[in-house]
């Protein structure tokens, strides 16, 4: 008798447990946070996704592309435009933001596919971000220019998102899904191909791997993730401004990647959390925030060049990622 052994469900790894425990613990935040703290927590989730998306291109794919603020702004503006002019619900606008961010990623990948690399790619993609900012300012009939484009009342499945608490639970769900999706991508064959391209593009191509396809895929995924973050940012601020997507923003995003740990998904989460929360903590020292902020970045990069995640990886195996290059 051919008796098949029932396949055992693979138990959750420690990493997996942490992955689910952190958001479960975070779900309790609204019970003790006021409106201000809740807003900060919501912004932390926005920036976690911004960093996750950016890190894919910078850290995992190894391309010096700085189109992140373009993706971020496009996601935010697309959400506001679809809701304001096309009457989309927030859920649909969020999908629109992900698609438009992905398309912007596709556009940004064209430069990389044409063999433009390093500083040239950096400058071109930075220019893309600045060009988009110019569009937000000057497409005044649509974007309302520098006055900012207000969002209509945001509801999700009929539930008002006006309160920070409502936003929090929706953002938490989105963040968990996107981080998990990105984690799965990185752990898959695709993820390994992406890392192989970073390590040696020519060798990867010689192995018969279509590097162009994976480069496009990474940019599109990155653009979609950051576009979703843009949609969350728009819902959080309830009005989108060109000023929110300038050059300073790129520096902050880059710092989040580097401080968290380039090429590390956990690092992205840490970078997003730390560099959103710390400036708020330093708010109590008016005029000194930049000093503290700069000092922390320098200290981390000087003593932990692989980011805060490398420190945590030394302390606990929980923070070691399979795709994290030692």
């Amino acid at each position: 008798m051919n008796q098949e052994t029932p396949q055992k469900k693979r138990p959750l790894s420690q990493n997996g447990r942490i992955f689910y425990l952190v958001p479960l613990a975070a779900a309790l935040i609204p019970f003790f946070a006021n409106d201000y703290l809740q807003f900060i927590v919501n912004m932390i989730m926005v920036y976690v996704l911004v960093t996750v998306g950016f890190n894919l291109v910078i850290g995992n794919l190894g391309q010096l592309a700085f189109a992140n603020t373009a993706f971020f702004g496009i996601g935010a503006y697309m959400t506001a435009i679809l809701m304001t002019y096309a009457g989309f619900t927030y859920e649909l606008a969020l999908v629109g933001a992900a698609i438009s961010g992905g398309l912007a990623g596709l556009l940004a990948s064209v430069t990389a596919l044409r063999g433009i690399r390093l500083y040239y790619l950096a400058i071109i993609t930075l220019a893309f971000g600045e060009l988009m900012r110019w569009v937000y300012i000057h497409a005044e009939p649509v974007t309302m220019g520098t006055d900012g484009l207000p969002l209509p009342d945001v509801t999700v499945f009929g539930m008002s998102m006006h309160s920070e608490t409502a936003k929090f639970y929706v953002f938490l769900l989105i963040t968990v899904l996107v981080v998990k999706g990105t984690s799965n991508l990185l752990k898959s064959r695709v993820g390994r191909a992406i890392l192989a391209i970073r390590d040696n593009e020519l060798t990867t191509a010689s192995l018969g791997i279509s590097t162009a396809n994976y480069i496009i895929l990474t940019f599109v995924w990155s653009g979609s993730v950051v576009g979703i973050a843009g949609a969350m940012f728009a819902a959080s601020t309830e009005r989108v401004f060109p000023e929110s997507f300038g050059l300073t923003e790129v520096i902050v995003h880059f710092a989040m990647v580097m401080v968290g740990g380039a090429g590390s998904l956990i690092g992205s989460v840490i970078g997003g959390v730390v560099l959103t929360a710390l400036p708020e903590y330093f708010r109590q020292f008016p005029g000194m925030e930049e000093l503290f902020f700069g000092a922390i970045i320098i200290a981390v990069l000087l003593f932990l060049p692989k980011g805060l995640v490398s420190l945590l990886a030394k302390v606990s195996p929980l923070f070691r990622e399979r795709y994290f290059r030692e």
């Binding site: 006021n34 409106d35 201000y36 703290l37 807003f39 900060i40 912004m43 900012r133 110019w134 300012i137 000057h138 220019g145 520098t146 006055d147 900012g148 207000p150 940012f233 959080s236 601020t237 309830e238 009005r239 401004f241 060109p242 000023e243 929110s244 050059l247 300073t248 400036p279 708020e280 708010r283 008016p286 005029g287 000194m288 925030e289 930049e290």
Partner: protein
């Protein structure tokens, strides 16, 4: 319909709750104690635009002086500074902190229009009285909302002043505009253009010069070709300095340049260090005198008393006028202060001489732009001079 007895109790409770809720709304004493008034002071204490935080320093010096004089009806001001870094998202966090964590009675300050527009809905919804004391976008207080007041000339007032001054120079037909691509510059440039248009003059050329740009050669060379009668430069101070230096480098020192209120005459001279470069530079100047003039001495002394290391520039005075008006409204509201009484008293401020603004403040429920015009400052015989129009000192 007869109310049955089983409904009497619940209805009575609901009515009582309604009355209590009504009372809470009608007598909002958030941020007040018998001895203190909490005031939230938002400003760019860090970042590219941190030189604007001088406006908040001046205002806080005034409140501290009032504290030393015993406060208002026995209450002293407790000032809570919050940094916006001139970034909308950071401004929203600051406003939420002031409203929901610090629970301030009122807010006073804010130097960046983008930030002010971003926080407007939060502040309006909270009912916190807010006096905007530096940001110039007119839409911050227009259309009027119950609790937002503009205590500084808004964009149209400054733009009107800039346009009027430019057109007051006889024979002005050819005007070139140089400006940043941001909300702040548009707040000045658009109303200037509108005023010039009423006089039949359209700008010959509009040139962009972005924030952080360290060279203005391209703009200057185009200007040299255009040979304008006047240049309108809606630029932040750092870029203004670069622009004026490059004008001098290419020998263009005889064309007058009208700057925006984001620059200050004396500070611009100090940064350039050469009177020849700034001799034809003019800026909107909302105050009765120049920084070193006798009219400003008492304000200078006040600022230096509370902030001894402070370097005083035109920005230092921007928010003081509205602080003077706010204190007057608080006095008029009497000892049983509520937010509603304070707002009502602010709306009663009419043609109020602050002792520092060149023009008086008038607020009403349907017009919250308190200051409608400004003077202009420029160098006459190498000395900073406040002017009404071209070659017309005040």
């Amino acid at each position: 319909m007869k109310t049955t007895s089983k409904w009497k109790l619940p209805l009575g409770v609901l009515a009582a709750m309604g009355i209590m809720a009504g009372t809470a709304v009608a007598d909002d004493t958030t941020g007040l104690t018998d001895t203190t008034i909490k005031v939230g002071v938002m400003g760019p204490f860090s970042g590219n635009a941190s030189s604007y935080s001088k406006a908040q320093i001046g205002e806080m010096a005034y409140y501290k002086m009032i504290n030393d004089q015993g406060g208002v009806h026995g209450r002293k001001f407790e000032l809570i500074e919050e940094d916006t870094a001139c970034q909308p998202a950071k401004g929203i966090a600051a406003a939420k902190k002031l409203v929901s964590q610090d629970k301030v009675f009122m807010m006073h300050g804010n130097s960046c229009s983008g930030v002010a527009m971003a926080v407007k809905d939060i502040v309006v919804e909270s009912g916190t009285p807010w006096i905007v004391a530096h940001a110039v976008n007119p839409n911050i207080s227009m259309p009027p909302t119950p609790n937002v007041f503009h205590g500084v000339p808004a964009g149209p007032a400054y733009g009107y002043t800039m346009g009027k001054f430019v057109m007051s120079k006889p024979g002005t037909k050819n005007v070139v505009m140089v400006e940043h691509s941001n909300d702040w510059a548009k707040s000045y440039a658009d109303p200037t253009r509108d005023y010039m248009k009423t006089k039949g003059v359209e700008p010959t050329m509009v040139l962009a010069m972005e924030r952080g740009q360290t060279d203005a050669t391209a703009q200057v060379l185009k200007i040299r070709q255009a040979k304008p009668d006047f240049i309108v430069a809606s630029l932040y101070e750092a870029e203004t300095v670069i622009f004026l230096k490059d004008l001098k480098k290419y020998g263009i020192t005889d064309i007058p340049v009208m700057g925006a209120a984001g620059t200050d005459l004396e500070n611009t001279l100090a940064r350039i260090g050469d009177i020849d470069t700034v001799k034809n530079y003019y800026v909107p100047h909302a105050f009765i005198d120049t920084v070193d003039g006798p009219g400003m001495k008492k304000w200078n002394d006040m600022i230096l008393k509370y902030y001894p290391g402070e370097t005083i520039t035109g920005f230092s005075y921007v928010s003081i006028g509205s602080a003077v008006a706010a204190v007057q409204a608080l006095k008029n509201a009497g000892p049983d202060l509520t937010r509603e009484k304070f707002i009502a008293e602010l709306d009663k401020i009419k043609d109020f001489d602050t002792g520092i603004f060149a023009t008086n403040i008038t607020w009403s429920a349907d017009d919250r732009h308190g200051v409608k015009e400004s003077a202009v400052a420029g160098f006459v015989d190498g000395k900073p001079t406040v002017m009404k129009s071209w070659n017309q000192p005040m």
